[in-house]
Symmetry: D2
Subunit: 346 residues, 4 copies
């Protein structure tokens, strides 16, 4: 039996999602990396920028025009928002499948997307076709998709945390609260003052309380799960660590169920969702570097509020790892291929 | 005019509350430190344990028996829970006033206290007399108190954040949510595995979700403010920083009010509560080392949920600084004496 | 061809070296873990203590007596110093090979060992037989060893950094200086005040300047390389990070050579030593989680001082990874088996 | 008796040195802040950028042209290198005294300065006049200076650490080694990738090993102390903390002296240098926020190498605090005025 090989291009490999994709693909048995593009760094060996890849990745960054992406089987966009929507039509036309790790294809309501992302969408028709790449919800559609919109980091942690409650219809979906905390790598590898170590270390703050781009994405996903409109308060916070998202979720219980059992059943066959034993408090380091979402569900003092704790590594299950998981599904590989890593603890 | 001098003893000066009290009192114009006790470290110069105090504090730790605490004007207990309740009766009898920075006198319901703290209370009668030392609520009673129960760190941040809403009766007090994040110094200077740097750094987790000792303290305080029973979900989290608490508070609005104006009016004359401009996100470092609570209030998307952000330094406004504030009130000094420090940023 | 299986026992699996061994062995194709002992945690599932191992390790900690270690092919000691020396004689007698990740077999001079470790050695005869497990020096002897003394973390970084200079005889070996900085996990998973996050974060300090246990180990190794007595000043520092050692090494050049070429040649065939290009500054994160030592060599301002920068992950190349590398050598496996991990960056 | 008032202008108040100057001057009894300039932030209230200053500083940033700096008694330059040299001549001509916290006036050899700072100097004649503001060496000259060149952070820690040895002529000044570690705030409040938390946290690296701008400054200072040319290897490192420099210094002893006594005598009357007891290891947090240099001196194993540990807060004794100390000297105030702060620990 011959080993299947997927020829892969990456657009925009200089950010954290890019280097994390490279880390995972370098160790993936079916991945053949053919090109990594970067306008600003063309000509530089990838391993000069990311020395952890020395001995693993021999490629240099190339200009997009020189990358021959149309000859790939699959292209990942690890770019800022607004790039993938420009390049995807031609690629899809050339028979290349696309996974956008940015936000261009996540929101079905184009007007809503344009309001939050403050730009005009370049290919609204392809948004309709694109599949939202949350495998625990859309596995079958992902398998045949030409375009997969890889979910955001917060939306992954929040949706997986609320999913069993919302699907089962046992909570008040008009008053959901998601209090989420992210490590600083979630802001990307951009030179900005507020994510300098001297600003963000030994410090904690909320941001975007009046509104954050991930709010419409989460609301869209939960609404689809519920089958009716969901209303959510979403409060993101910056926490002084590199990787990790911890979402603390609150919902008013409207129907009495065994929460622990509800979660265990819903995720019984999911390789990358781990429902912890009752009473647990998952910590983000337990998923550091691993494509895993660990969840615990509580009902404090037996009251009418469910409290769900959901942790992921924002760069893995929240970005590059989930992208590789989607790739595996799209190309008919076992879903866990190349994604079996023990989290790095401590 | 002669300068008033307060003769002060500290019981248990080897923890973080102790060293922070020493830092503040060393620079306080009216404080005369006469004794610092420690059973385990008796004989050691204080500045050998805490070199930041070299040149400021010449005292050695002494055995409690040798400390002549009954000759002090004021004794602070910076001890583990369960110590102050044993020593306070004799001190009060000797005319010494007491500020307990631990939890022995905080909860009026003795049975409740004994359940959460898992020990028998040694002087229930004095609990009834003790004044809960939150100056923004109890300033007048503190002035004449023999015993002040200094509030816990979480309870300070959460109560000051909810206070205007609860006093004004404009939110559903049956479904309050306090999602609180603390730096690691809140756990004290005890050798424990879970607060090692290699465990707690680059990591984030909730703890005590089923129940935390600060829950009954917060509930008691909010209930007093509301004039009727309050129900609260309280979720503490450990965040990888040294100092700081960030409480993110959620309440369902039941009566339409201008939240910003409500907060500004309530705290207009408070020297140690700073209501930030509308739309702000206070960060914990903005109060690092300072006796200050900064608060911002939001109403995301104009919905029916109020989101309050409340930050303090857990060792200052959440412990030692508030204790000195109480001392100033008790001894008739201007309340800000010795507490005017600019927070250390970055 | 049948896959070779090594039956492995681990004594003392509750520390950081233990969990790191478990992480590596869980993903090693030839490792069959049969027992993990812990007196204090016997009966607890390993994955309850280290949730990153959920789904990977099903074993519970067992009492040493119940572990049947004498039926293993190999036993790792991931214990405090002084344990391995007691249990090793019986194991070796039973035909079990031993890798001690602690210090019991590292120092050949028994009196010297007893002075630094402050205890009487239990089996001096086996010390003579034991092989010091630095593969880049002792590969052939390791292959046939019954007992391998796995090097300390500082000694690995310092010896690999100095090795080419000292072997080539081009520096003054009477005045070597090793200024080394370690992450806090190097102190182990012990409850101690000085490694609490609130003590060690946002802080930097030297320790053990008058003398550190790794000094005689380094001196012994360098002396063997040089063929004559070496004199070293060794200054360890605690740096506020979890993993990583950065050794900055200084030597006076006595013979003019091309330093870059010297290093590249010496390590040309070493899979786990990476000589960086001239002018590089390796960072510790470039080896986080990876069994790799990255080295850069400088000659500032063309003067007579060589400055060598040597980085490792103290838990991998400085402990568990090197132990697995030694295991591979001892059991005739390709040396990189189970040790090909891309470092986690960021 | 009337209190002396110093009218002060600050050029460039948006960096870390700027905010730290503001913190110190806000609490200084003689300082009257009249203007803070910033081209990029003109019109913004200072306390909007630095919320720790809310209630302390009511000024807004102003355009330099609008600042009327020529009417000040003193102007601090907290600017990037190359600004002060342009504005200082006019100010000095107008009778305003100047403290440059940047590097424009530190190096007497203009050609050397121009090579390291890669620009042409605008006023070489004033460099000759300017006094290097290390009070422990130049106190008398500072008192009468029109222009004080405030020392760099590394140079302060390194020079104060070597000073007693070099002045006493007891070490080999041809082979001095300074291995220095800095917190990230030393790089300033500039948006750069390498100082992002996600890059610099949980990481350690050397930088500038081939050459760093502070090398000629240190060499110049030590040469002046020695009375003859000094040769130094200087290796700076970035350590994952906000504030603090730890310099570990190595010198070969050429004349036998009591090192502890040498240091204690040299610094006996210095208010801001603290010689720790023999055997100490000062940590950087012991000076966090304080204008203090703590030093310990060792002679490991009684050998011929002196090892000196010298710690400062890079933003205080390494920048703004030393600048205020110089101001006090220049204006005839007690040197410790406004600089008595207990370091923030933990």
């Amino acid at each position: 039996m011959t080993q299947k090989t997927i020829n892969i291009g990456i657009v925009g490999g200089t950010g954290y999602t890019g280097v994390e994709l490279l880390r995972l693909l370098a160790q993936h048995p079916n991945a053949q990396l053919t090109a990594i593009t970067s306008r600003s760094e063309a000509g530089m060996p990838v391993a000069d920028m990311f020395p952890n890849l020395r001995g693993w990745i021999d490629l240099k960054f190339v200009e997009p025009a020189a990358a021959k992406l149309d000859q790939c089987d699959l292209v990942f966009f690890a770019t800022p928002n607004g790039i993938a929507m420009k390049d995807t039509p031609a690629l899809v036309h050339a028979g290349v499948r696309v996974i956008d790790v940015a936000a261009d294809f996540r929101i079905k309501d184009i007007a809503e997307w344009e309001r939050w992302y403050n730009m005009k969408h370049a290919c609204p028709d392809l948004v309709a076709e694109a599949v939202y790449g949350l495998p625990e919800v859309n596995r079958d559609k992902i398998a045949n998709a030409r375009i997969v919109a890889n979910p955001g980091c917060y939306p992954t942690a929040v949706q997986l945390g609320f999913l069993p409650l919302v699907e089962a219809g046992v909570v008040d979906i008009q008053h959901l609260i998601a209090d989420a905390k992210s490590g600083v790598s979630g802001a990307g590898r951009k030179a900005e003052v507020h994510t300098l170590l001297a600003e963000a270390a030994d410090n904690f703050k909320a941001y975007g309380v009046p509104g954050h781009r991930h709010l419409p994405e989460i609301t869209q996903g939960l609404t689809q799960m519920a089958g009716k409109a969901v209303s959510l308060v979403f409060t993101p916070h910056l926490t002084p660590m590199i990787r990790g998202i911890h979402a603390t979720l609150y919902a008013q219980i409207t129907k009495d169920v065994d929460l622990q059992s509800l979660y265990e059943k819903r995720y019984a066959n999911e390789p990358f969702v781990d429902v912890m034993p009752a009473g647990s408090h998952p910590d983000t380091r337990s998923v550091r570097g691993a494509n895993m979402c660990r969840i615990a569900v509580h009902r404090p003092q037996g009251g009418d509020t469910a409290v769900v704790l959901s942790v992921i590594d924002n760069l893995v299950k929240g970005a590059a790892g989930q992208a590789v998981q989607n790739m595996n599904i799209m190309f008919g590989l076992p879903e866990t291929t190349g994604l079996r890593h023990v989290a790095l603890l401590p």
